[in-house]
Amino acid sequence: MIETTSGMLILTAIIPMVTALLVMVSGKRPNIRESWSVVGAVLTFASVVNLAPAVLSGETLRCTYAQILPGVSVTLKLDGLGLLFAGTSSFLWILAAFYCVGYMRGLDEHAQTRFYVCYAAAVGAAMGAAFAGNLFTLYLFYEIVSVVTYPLVMHHQDGEGYEGGKKYIIYLFFTSKAFLLSGMVLVYFMAGTLEFGNGVMAGIFPAGTSGPLLVVSFLLFLFGFAKSGIMPFHNWLPSAMVAPTPVSALLHAVVVVKVGVFSIARVMLSVYGVNTLSGLGLGTFTAYFVSITIVCASVIALTKTNLKARLAYSTISQLSYIILGVALLNPLGVTGGLVHITNHAFSKITLFFCAGAIFVVSGKKDIREMGGLGRRMPWTMGAFALASLSMIGVPPVSGFVSKWYLALGTMEAHNWVLLTVLLASSLLNAGYFVPVVFQAFFGTPPPEDEGKTESLEKTPLVRFMVVPLVITATCSALFGLYPDLFFKIISVLDTGFFAGLTNVTAGL
């Protein structure tokens, strides 16, 4: 692994922040304001792409910006894991930026400038988290994400909005103060540094570190990153669904929740390392623990008839797949888990985009009222169907790839319980997604819609929403067919650890 210094790293986090400022300044002119957010999104993605070749050739870009205490600094570092997350989030932001225009104007929402400012700032903070080179930097950006997304959650500023926002902030700050801070202090106490290690094997702790303390601090991190939606600290996510749908789509299906999952993966791989975790049996424990979330969240999703609520519980369940994969601690499992960051992102954002588009054009939130909607919104519901297949894990859509690798990982670990969990959860996924699609295409329309056949996707504003969601759905399918790029990105994380992977895949 080659280490190089690059001052360019901070640019990726700064572009969205500058975008936020420009949006704020041009708040009175909506067209300019929204173009800024599109331009910012494109530039952010471009800056990530610009850094990608170096990372893919095996370099780790790294730059320290401020030294705070010995071993505590603001350091940015880009490796495979960060690239995967940053690339996904920044690319989806471009599409979401267009979608926002359609949604926010379509509903004539209030305080749109505040919305765009916080939206851009949230993406910027997530970029910072993706590039974090040590625990402190990760914590810094993790907390900034919490702060700037609060105004988005309580956007409507009604009772429900405030209630959701309150829950959001209490869950996130309580867990981060109570668990994350203590965990960080314990790591600093044990290792004398907060810097991430290189590779995924060794971790940062010196030999002979007390086992019980390692276990306790690891559990603190597992619960501290509550953005990952692991039960029992998952309840903020369904409440956060009071936010406008673009927020639910980009932030509460991709950026925010993935910051949580990414952080846990990062801590597992770069702070504790595979050797330490498997030595203490923490990998297996984590895998079993998140299995509870996978199954329970899916069961709860079955009971929800509000489309966004159902999607929220589906997200909780799917996020735990990622942690499950990493917790398997073998190359196949980790690959399956990490590639699900991207795969789930593209599919889930499609689903949320669809839910939002349906709400804007028809005002419908409840699945039971969506009968026959597929005939009037064919593109939207088609994309929805495709993304649902990805969630269930049907080939050739991308979700299949993640689940395939996760399944291979559980088999490599010879753990039939976890394999059963994966299969059962796929059945449950089918159980709550198939009825939605079926209802949309073959169900009978509710009485007030009877006889209406004209398309709802004709107006230009609606196209702002439909085009992005068709693109994300198409990407979902493409990633299922050509997942090689992501495997390459993940494998540069630790070439030694993932060395066997290419052989295994070749053998299949």
């Binding site: 705070i68 603001v74 405030y162 926002g165 103060k177 203590s182």
Partner: protein, 526 residues
């Protein structure tokens, strides 16, 4: 005496200048007329003092623990009552904090104070001299004179320019502090009788018998614990803060509370190291109680000023916790935390003053959902509130993190209580911000009365903006680059730790085993 001091080589007596300039400035106010003239004069004198204090930072020798910029003048040599001033790495930061907070307290009372301008400026300037005097004195009598001299202007600030219950608050403040001072005076006299000197560095070198150390330690600790204030001696603080005018609150929070922490570091630890070690578990316990109780009480307040006052109890609990962990990291953390508290809590009180000038109420209920009406104000409120509960990247995080690492190294159980305090800090600040910026979940988000509760609301003016921006710079400067600050104090803290190490030997020789009471066992985690 000279072995402890490094003479001032700046070409002018810097510490005496800092002491005398405000006093002279205060006397000149008696001959000035007109409100504008007086305020301008106050600003000029405090700013001049701040500028003149800058060499203390630049020319400070970071490689020695001796007292620098020292000046000696023999007043009554037969009594050992001399004018000796000098600063080391610990006190120099407090002198700078004082000189930089004072211009801001003049600025923040620009329109807040409506009457008796002459007296107000005069009192402020005298106060500044007394506070600088406390930090630079190296002679116990001199120290005590300044310590007492500080009491009167502060009493006047609360009593004359205070709110409705200012009589109650000012008397309570006066009595509590006076009670501490009595014990301080007694210990000073006993030390003199025993050693024949008032010179503080010399007293630090003397090895006192353990039983004597215990009494000296308790007397000093009582005085400083009231000042900090430490639970259960904190009740004067909320009263004083609520009634004090904005400048009074700022001075009280930013500087006066620091004198308790400074006293612990300057007197308790070096003069009675064995007793400090002996009482360490008790003081750690009390600090933890302060942290948790302060946070818990702050959570229930409906008055913004009271909320911040109780938050001070919690924050200063972190300071005393750091000090009495008696480890380098702990004391570093405590020092940074004191500077931070001066900056952040000062800013929060200025923010309360700003909103009080507009709505004439300090109740959270009357100052709700300001987000749309005062965006700049709200931006500052959010940033300083985040800084107050140790948001990463702000100054408080550095201090809190150092103290937390030290406390977890000492005992995991104590660490859990400290973390509980940190959670409470986040809870009450976020509750305050949520209500003031937006509104409660009871649906009062949108104003029906045109948005301003019938009061005229206007956003920050240039003066307020600059005052707050000045403090904001330090929030992030210390937050991202605390090194310059830590370099100033590190040598002195290392020296202090050597003195505390001596205490270990003294404790062993005195054949006193470590206290076996329940609290000690709990806090030590056995």
């Amino acid at each position: 005496m000279d072995t402890y001091l490094i003479a001032n080589t700046l070409g002018y007596p810097i510490l005496s200048t800092l002491l005398l300039l405000p006093i002279i400035g205060g006397l000149v106010t008696l001959f000035l007329k007109g409100e504008k003239m007086l305020k301008a004069w106050g600003l000029v004198v405090t700013t001049a003092t701040a500028v003149l204090s800058l060499p203390l930072f630049n020319a400070f020798d970071r490689g020695t623990a001796l007292y620098q910029f020292a000046e000696v003048s023999h007043w009554f040599p037969f009594l050992d009552l001399n004018y000796v001033v000098g600063v080391d790495g610990i006190s120099v930061l407090f002198v700078l904090l004082t000189t930089f907070i004072m211009p801001l307290s003049v600025l923040c009372s620009w329109t807040y104070i409506k009457d008796r301008h002459k007296e107000f400026i005069c009192v402020l300037l005298l106060m500044e001299s007394a506070m600088i005097g406390v930090f630079v004195s190296l002679n116990l009598v001199l120290f005590f004179i300044f310590w007492e001299a500080m009491l009167v202007p502060m009493y006047l600030l609360i009593a004359v320019w205070g709110g409705k219950r200012s009589d109650y608050a000012s008397i309570k403040f006066f009595l509590y502090t006076l009670l501490g001072s009595v014990f301080l005076l007694v210990s000073i006299i006993i030390l003199y009788v025993k050693c024949g000197t008032f010179f503080i560095p010399a007293l630090m070198e003397v090895v006192f018998p353990f039983s004597f150390q215990v009494w000296i330690f308790l007397a000093f600790t009582l005085a400083f614990a009231i000042k900090v204030p430490m639970f259960p001696l904190h009740t004067w603080l909320p009263a004083a803060h609520v009634e004090a005018p904005v400048a009074g609150s700022v001075i009280l929070a930013s500087i006066l509370l620091k004198m308790g922490g400074y006293g612990f570091l300057r007197f308790c630890l070096p003069i009675a190291p064995a007793a400090s070690l002996y009482f360490m578990p008790w003081l750690i316990g009390l600090s933890l109680v302060s942290i948790v109780a302060g946070g818990y009480l702050a959570l229930g307040q409906s008055d913004i000023k009271k909320l911040i006052a109780y938050s001070s109890v919690g924050h200063m609990g972190f300071v005393t916790l750091g000090i009495f962990l008696l480890s380098t990291g702990g004391i570093q953390g405590a020092m940074i935390q004191m500077i931070n508290h001066g900056i952040v809590t000062g800013a929060l009180f200025i923010l309360v003053g700003i909103i009080y000038e507009r709505t004439h109420s300090r109740e959270i209920e009357d100052n709700k959902s300001l987000g749309m009406l005062m965006p700049a104000y709200v931006a500052y409120l959010v940033i300083f509130s985040l800084a107050s509960f140790g948001f990463p990247g702000t100054n408080s995080f550095v201090g809190e993190f150092l103290v937390l690492v030290a406390v977890f190294t000492h005992s995991k159980v104590a660490g859990i209580f400290a973390i509980l305090g940190a959670i409470l800090a986040a809870a009450y600040m976020l509750r305050l911000v949520q209500k003031m910026v937006w509104a409660d979940s009871d649906g009062h988000g949108h104003h029906d009365d045109g948005g301003d509760h019938g009061h005229a609301l206007w956003d920050l003016n240039m003066r307020e903006f600059l005052t707050l921006s000045f403090l904001l710079v330090f929030v992030f400067w210390i937050g991202f680059n605390p090194k310059p600050l830590m370099q100033v104090m590190d040598t002195s803290i290392t020296h202090l730790m050597e003195q505390v190490e001596e205490g270990h030997h003294q404790l062993k020789e005195s054949h006193h085993v470590a206290p076996g009471h329940d609290l000690a066992a709990l806090v030590n985690g056995h």
